[in-house]
């Protein structure tokens, strides 16, 4: 057992790209689900749109990176409008079914061979992050301290990613303490009461859907630029449910909930992953109990179990406030 590398992997995962991506996706979900009570099961679609927005913008249309980013943002706004118009007037579970269906439609279309020229089929796109990496101001070398030492590329990704997380957190904090944010929370608690006060509930819900979607789109930017590739199957339904686990773990309707949730989620996933993997390679865990590919499946079992147990025993998450979130269907 190499305790050193287990700790290193764990801590690096807690601040690494995966934690950043899921923190951003979950901040978006927090605006949808935590504050407004919208059951968006298609957050993966917004992330996909962001990631493919850059890839397709740069590679297919030959646009500069900055314009491609705007393309991704505009596409995510359009997606939110398209999803919202048919469903926001209906009951919560309709939005859930439509968003999950829309996310799968986008993934299936992105991986389709018929559109290989544009979106690269099931292999996805790669090699579009050149001008992003050229922006890296850090000279070659190692940055950080102790276990958290990264090379200049990884460090650049982390700095950019956490800056976006910080900006999103700040924005959500300011929005939610404004009168506008209080209307959103009121919609979550009792839609009809808000309507009777003369507020346009549909419009508020739509604004929340757009804002959460745009934050999800930022997650797609970080995801694709840090890997300099897009893979369609990374944006399946599992992505959305991981993001839900992150959100519920940290605490929905809390500004820092998604961030703390993402760090804990990836710390735990990485610790169990490396522990089990090392156990298997060093023959501490016999191969008839567990072998290589099964380690990855244990990760999903943990996520499923965590989602169930959290929702049953502690729906407010680690730092949440139970009064904030009654989680009841209308």
């Amino acid at each position: 057992m190499d305790i050193d590398s287990i700790l290193r992997n764990g801590l690096q995962a807690a601040v690494g790209i995966d934690a950043i991506v899921f923190a951003l996706a979950a901040i978006g979900l927090n605006v949808h689900f935590g504050y407004t009570g919208l059951l968006n099961f298609g957050q993966a679609a917004f992330v996909l749109v962001g990631a493919y927005g850059i890839g397709i913008g740069v590679l297919y249309f030959g646009l500069p990176l900055g314009v491609s980013l705007i393309l991704g943002l505009v596409a995510s706004v359009i997606l939110a409008l398209l999803l919202g118009i048919p469903t926001l007037r209906l009951r919560a579970d309709y939005l859930a079914i439509v968003t999950i269906a829309a996310a799968e439609i986008l993934r299936l279309v992105a991986r389709a061979n018929s559109f290989r020229d544009v979106s690269g089929g099931s292999d996805g796109l790669s090699g579009f992050a050149g001008s992003y990496n050229a922006l890296n101001p850090f000279p070659v070398g190692d940055y950080g301290f102790g276990y958290l030492t990264f090379d200049e590329r990884a460090f650049f990704n982390i700095v950019v990613g956490w800056s976006l997380v910080a900006l999103s957190v700040l924005a959500v904090f300011l929005w939610m303490r404004s009168p506008w944010g209080r209307v959103l929370k009121a919609i979550r608690e009792d839609e009809d009461a808000v309507r009777s006060l003369g507020k346009n509930v549909f419009s508020y819900k739509m604004q929340a859907l757009v804002i959460g979607g745009v934050i999800g789109c930022l997650a797609g930017f970080v995801y694709s630029l840090s890997r300099s590739s897009v893979q369609p199957d990374n944006y399946g339904t599992a992505f959305t449910f991981f993001a839900y686990t992150v959100l519920l773990l940290g605490g929905a309707a809390r500004v820092f909930g998604p961030v703390v949730g993402a760090m804990i989620f990836w710390l735990v996933i990485s610790l169990t992953d490396t522990l089990l993997r090392q156990g298997v390679t060093n023959d501490i865990i016999p191969s008839y109990i567990l072998d290589g590919p099964q380690v990855g499946q244990v990760r999903f079992m943990l996520v499923g179990l965590a989602l169930m147990l959290l929702m049953i025993f502690r729906p407010q998450g680690i730092f949440g406030d139970k009064r904030e979130l009654m989680l009841d269907a209308r």
Partner: protein
């Protein structure tokens, strides 16, 4: 707090006791490695889909280091132990392909691929004379009857699962995201008893369906009933069902492996020719069975005591309880029969498309589409919706030339059509075909 936890543990144990018999067999398939890393399976076949053995395949990491080099076996498969997930490049040494296949090539060589944690990456490579060429598919109006019939068959199989989902929604208000796992459990238990315990297929199928019904009972008794008692909100329960679905899915993957299996007595049957279309005997039996079960379910909903009680609970649970109906018992019956029918659907689907750990999960959204189309919470709506979705999926792939352009959905996108219809339906008639306005709320 204590009783639900106890029940939950019971559920977990019960759910996993079905599986141990399968774990012994998974090793026999030899596609998994005993090291700590991931697995990449490269399968090489020639144009007529026969496996090509004895060909050298090399896998290299992105930094150029060689991860492994091996020859494909008689099945055309070369298995690599990959140290960690990530992008890799697979190169086939075309010098080593058998002489009679000389001159054939691959669409991409070396081919870039990505190994993800948890699931072995299966890469299929096809040797062809002109790998870039698009294969001709049958087209025109003449293909429509065949597509209609295969869509009808698919629709009937979805209907078996959709009916249960819709009735569970109707009686409890829960949108059950773990419903696909009933299909998987039905198929997998049948596979275990058919292939490992070597029982005859019909006996194994009966055990599979009964086991799924029992699993439905456990679902309600151990999880949903305690949650209802506690007054857990519907949205919270929906998220619990997502967690349950993920958990069960990967428990199955853990013990069964991630390959697709065929039942022991599986054989490729010749279709019986009916003129404009042909059907395999197994498909005909499956369709007849599905129709019989659906009609029985419909008749019992309409005429039996428990069926009438079910409809009463779906209509208004409080009123039903006030009129002396045992609501909990009705809900229990709905879970058990709904699960059993989904299990039958799994067995029938397993015959045609093989048994795999995510058989049900792949179909879940189509089942949702069917139920929403027909009207959430209605029984006959779910069946109608399922038939429409099934037929639509297959018929939409007919390639029909109209004035120089070809209309039709590429086969790889056929599920997309059904999902788009789902969204459009919600735009114009959110209550579904047979639903009533007030359900939409």
């Amino acid at each position: 707090m204590a009783p639900p936890l106890k029940f939950l543990l019971l559920a977990v144990i019960l759910a996993s006791t079905i599986m141990p018999t399968a774990s012994a067999s998974a090793a026999a398939f030899g596609a998994t490695a005993a090291t700590g890393g991931e697995v990449l399976n490269v399968r090489l076949r020639s144009e007529d889909r026969t496996p090509v053995g004895g060909v050298t395949v090399t896998v290299t990491a992105p930094d150029g280091t060689e991860v492994g080099q091996t020859e494909t076996d008689d099945e055309g498969v070369a298995t690599f132990d990959i140290p960690e997930p990530g992008p890799y490049s697979v190169e086939v040494d075309l010098e080593t392909i058998p002489e009679e296949l000389a001159g054939l090539s691959l669409a991409q060589n070396p081919r870039d691929t990505r190994v993800d944690p948890g699931t072995p990456r299966n890469l299929n490579l096809l040797l062809a004379t002109d790998p870039g060429a698009v294969r001709e598919t049958a087209s025109g109006w003449s293909t429509v009857p065949q597509l209609f019939v295969s869509g009808l068959r698919f629709g009937l199989l979805i209907a078996l699962a959709a009916l249960g989902l819709s009735m569970i929604f109707g009686t409890t208000g829960l949108t059950n995201f773990a419903h696909g796992e009933f299909i998987t459990v039905g198929a997998v238990v049948t596979y275990v008893f058919n292939n490992i315990a070597e029982l005859p297929f019909l006996a194994a199928a009966a055990i599979g369906i009964i086991a799924t019904a029992a699993y439905g009972w456990v679902n309600d008794a151990a999880l949903w009933k305690p949650l209802r008692r506690r007054g857990t909100g519907l949205i919270a329960m929906m998220i619990v069902s997502i967690g349950l679905g993920i958990f069960i899915r990967y428990v199955v993957a853990f013990f069964l492996g991630t390959e697709t299996f065929q039942f022991r007595e599986y054989a490729i049957q010749a279709g019986i020719d009916f003129g404009p279309f042909s059907l395999k005997p197994a498909d005909i039996i499956g369709m007849v069975l599905a129709v019989v079960v659906l009609v029985l379910a419909a008749l019992s909903l309409l005429y039996t005591r428990i069926g009438k009680a079910t409809r009463a609970v779906a209509d208004n649970p409080a009123l039903a309880a006030a009129s002396g109906i045992d609501v909990d018992r009705v809900i229990r019956v709905v879970w058990v029969t709904g699960a059993g029918m989904a299990g039958l659907s799994g067995v029938l689907l397993g015959i045609t498309q093989g048994v795999s750990w995510n058989l049900g999960a792949q179909l879940l959204l189509l089942i949702f589409a069917a139920v929403t189309l027909g009207g959430l919470g209605t029984a006959f709506g779910a069946v109608t919706g399922a038939l429409i979705v099934g037929i639509l999926i297959d018929v939409s792939t007919a390639q029909i030339p109209v004035g120089g352009i070809t209309l039709g959905v590429p086969t790889e996108l056929k599920y997309v059509g059904a999902l788009v219809v789902l969204i459009v339906i919600l735009l114009f008639r959110p209550q579904g075909i047979l639903g009533r306005r007030e359900r939409v709320g």
